[in-house]
Symmetry: D2
Subunit: 338 residues, 4 copies
């Protein structure tokens, strides 16, 4: 931490800051510039209320030097984390494709989608049983019935499943059925849910919050890892910006940025990221080219009758074309798709 | 809903859209322009999967005409809602000031802050017992102990209390102690929490999410009202923008905008909104001048030792000055403060 | 400047950074922490390519300590700047109200608006002769004819005028007619235009760019002052955020922030800031309550026939009501309006 | 245009809107819903002040149906535009790579960079002679001397050049030397500059503004085309968002979005887009995979001594590696690089 004093701060004010730093177990190193004095605070303690120092007289601002996360950091663990789920690896040389409907609507819809995505080469089946919806009047999901259908679809197709938990009270139930627990964008900073999901020991797919910085996202992953669960998969799904031609703005640069700062695998969801099925395939190609470990896409047997997120769901034929287009891109960056 | 067809859409495509609208119980009214055809869909049914129509061939985009919220709407209820809590009214002529520490840290800290804010004229005591923190290593609150202290401070000072619930499992516990349940910005779209809090029947203080539109915010309030609880107080606390000179950007225009669209009371939290105690007083004045029903501010007996949000907490003397400055502004807009 | 070294940076890398700092005329002060080394760079030289140091091996990031602006800074000049234009003072105890149509459309429209705003108490007449429009097919202004009408309206009403310059080639022409030259939001970083306008010696009204930070805005003012012109008036007119219920988001907190960091006067334009006439009056009240030195608003004799920005223009009666509501708010913060 | 009436709007108000529409040359088609009436306005006239209708009594909002741009639209011209500059094609099957230093600093620096980028396969040399800089104290470019050096570098290497014009007064001068005129992000809505540059007849590289929507960007291109110049190359260079781990957020989805809506070629500048040389190569790969027609990158012989944008400039070796990595990605999407 660097403490920057105001121009004109008195010697006494500098001394008071230094004394408070010592009280908190830090060594202080003042540097006297032409106009301002700055004080370096060195210590091995995690003292998070250090920020209160800004209220001492004469202090202008604080500049943190250390990154706030540890367990998720590439500095701590150089080797990339590979998550394994029923024989599917996420974060290795092979890319992962998670696909399926936004919401589980019926057994027929689910199993049709499941076979479609499996045959086209997807390795994980996605589908929502608990749906967080902006409107209380929108379809909220089939809940436990949906979970049962997902498990049955896994039995029939052999595809491991990923589905979202939205309430701490349901985490055990969801974990009972699913292979990977998804934490949705709206819940990225629902810290109780993160901890609860972490405690199940199941792999966690952690979506980036709509307005979360990369640092806050990694801090959310830190919550899960601090609960003893190292199996975290990050998922970029678009951030909220002023641009409204797309539902969100997919931040592809988050992919190499996460790669540089963390050992965790990262995938991209271009369906939620763009909100428009026409943009899904080019953005999936971009994600893979940027170094993502895979993609997550919505596929519906008949998008024009979907109960949720129809506009961004791929028709089965479009999904097959997407897979065909992804393969050479995967090869171009030294990865395999199928 | 208006369905806009692509330029060059065929007659058959228009007919297919009209037929699907009829299937869904709508009447269709096509208008043939020079380059594009648009189809007005009129119906009394809430058909939310109507958006799937965008996947029909030839459709370019959908334009919703109706607002998605009902119960919170000024169109439905012209008279402003006034929430009453132990003799304090929120939404009436008198402004409400909710003040106290970010987090309950100890009995001494809480009761000192409580007397300070009461003596300066605050009518509600705020304080966090469950704290959602970005870092798993930060102080997370005293939990039930904190709730007990808040209740005891209410007994001693007579101030009603407001405190946050962060987990569906704790809502009953929090409701047992508090007068107003706060839903924090990070949980604005934690729909299970909204519903659970709504079911307690206690007044709910609903903070705006960091990246929530005014419409999404009102939809979150709609969740609470749809659970049968009409006592919702909205709280603007700053939105996330590119500007980083302040912690967030307080959207003061949300105050008259909410006033125009909803009957619910709205207050402003300039402490979280700006992140800097120096900006709290001018922004509190602005909030009142814009028509807010009150403000919520953080006050700490010794901000330089606060365990949470020190930089934005007011020193007791600064809080007194703020109250002195707010009073004439209240008068200027026809409201009373004390 | 603080240079933060990567964890694991070698002694040699630290030495190389220190040597480069010395070459550039700086003294270096290394501080050795547990995990990272940081190096304080102290010097009196403005060395702007210092940022290139980030490319030296082992460097993680640079942290600037000094603010990049000088002339506009409150640290340099404690006393507030007061701009005087034909007897009207901007930045003093009395608030300034600049009002008039978005664009000068005809002599009749202009002079009617001029008398309306003058009679209601405005001190400066605004009106655009050169209009920057998003579409090449929209009305682009009456150009020099518009300037002549503005000058004639000044003669008749006695109101000083403010109008925008959009091209370096027109600055002399605009300066010939106007009392205050406006630099619009789109041109805030048109540095040639800033310099040219600065050189005229006329007071400059500098609108904040749509996506400009407060710091960038002050740097734009620094360009004008560096051209020898100290008469700069800042104008907050809303920033672009994700919220689309308003045209822009008025950043009221910029008012106290500018007050703290600069000696320049600041006014607020709630017409462009909100894009909706219904929000103009409450936001004008908020601006004054927050400490603004005045407001700038659009008034049109018949907004439903305006050629530009009709939706945000006030009807003459609404403007009168706004003035009546502003007066007590001005008094509440120790200012006068009329 | 659709006019949406307020709930409760009277028949007379609807008639008044219809009459005004007729006055403006439109046919009106009212649709009466349960709660609201909407009026479709059909006409072949470009009536841009139509928005003033929002001020008529009873009107709630206006919904535009037509896109505001024409000449740049894919609806008007289905075939992709290919720009040709001294034998280099932009927008065809072969990708274009524009590379070189941020600013021309000296002949030695420029020619060294020029040979480096040429040998690695770049087809166009970039370099700034007029530099728009946030600070008036930063290096502002060599101006005409820089232009002469660029022209000399073209002679020696055979590479066509692209450089920025920042002032209407310099457009002729810049056009005299350069092959492609760049309009920078800060000037995207400097409409006089757009028109002046358009009139030169030279190909224009139009960077997206920092806070410009895709629609506003296309409208800026429309200004150039409306000046009679069809040779416009769009360049995505990152937009401003709340995320500050990168300098800007590269909006890769703009690439397929532009492809869908316009016939103009689009390239991506990952140097300005990310602000960090480490992210340039993965983002260049992503751009190509998403369908961009090329990339523009900054290359400096010694980035640690660059006078401008050092942190984002590629070292010559890194640039060579980037080119090597781009080639297979180009192949994977059916394009060629070299």
């Amino acid at each position: 931490m660097i403490v920057v004093m105001q121009p004109g701060a008195t010697q006494e004010q500098v001394r008071e800051v230094e004394q408070r730093l010592r009280e908190l177990g830090f060594k202080s190193h003042p540097i006297y510039g032409e106009e301002k004095t700055v004080i370096g605070a060195v210590g091995d303690k995690k003292v998070l209320s250090l920020e209160a120092i800004i209220n001492l007289p004469g202090v202008e601002k604080l500049v943190p030097i250390m990154k706030p996360y540890k367990l998720v950091s590439r500095e701590l663990k150089k080797v990339k984390t590979v998550v394994e789920v029923r024989g599917v690896t996420i974060g290795g040389e092979q890319l992962v494709v998670m696909a399926g409907p936004c919401a589980v609507e019926s057994w027929e819809q689910l199993i049709e989608a499941a076979w479609v995505v499996k045959e086209a080469g997807a390795q994980v089946l996605r589908g929502g049983a608990f749906k967080p919806r902006t409107s209380p009047y929108a379809f909220q999901g089939l809940e436990e019935k949906g979970l049962e259908m997902l498990a049955r679809a896994r039995e029939e197709t052999g595809l491991p499943i990923v589905t979202e938990a939205v309430d701490t009270r349901d985490v055990t139930l969801v974990a009972h059925y699913t292979d990977i627990i998804q934490i949705g964008a709206r819940n990225m900073q629902n810290f109780q849910l993160l901890r609860e999901a972490g405690l199940t020991g199941k792999p966690i797919l952690l979506k980036r919050g709509l307005a979360a910085t990369v640092e806050e996202w990694l801090m959310a992953a830190e919550y899960i890892m601090a609960a003893g669960n190292p199996q975290v998969i990050l998922c970029e799904r678009g951030i909220r910006t002023y641009e409204n031609a797309t539902r969100n703005t997919v931040d592809i640069s988050a992919v190499p940025l996460i790669r540089e700062n963390s050992h965790l695998p990262i995938i991209v969801d271009p369906s939620h990221g763009t909100g428009s099925w026409k943009l899904v395939t080019p953005m999936a190609r971009a994600a893979v080219a940027a170094g993502a470990d895979g993609v997550m896409v919505e596929v519906h047997p008949d998008p024009s009758r979907a109960l949720c997120d129809g506009p961004q769901s791929l028709h089965p034929d479009t999904f097959k074309r997407m897979m065909a287009e992804l393969e050479p891109v995967a090869g171009a960056v030294g990865r395999t798709l199928l």
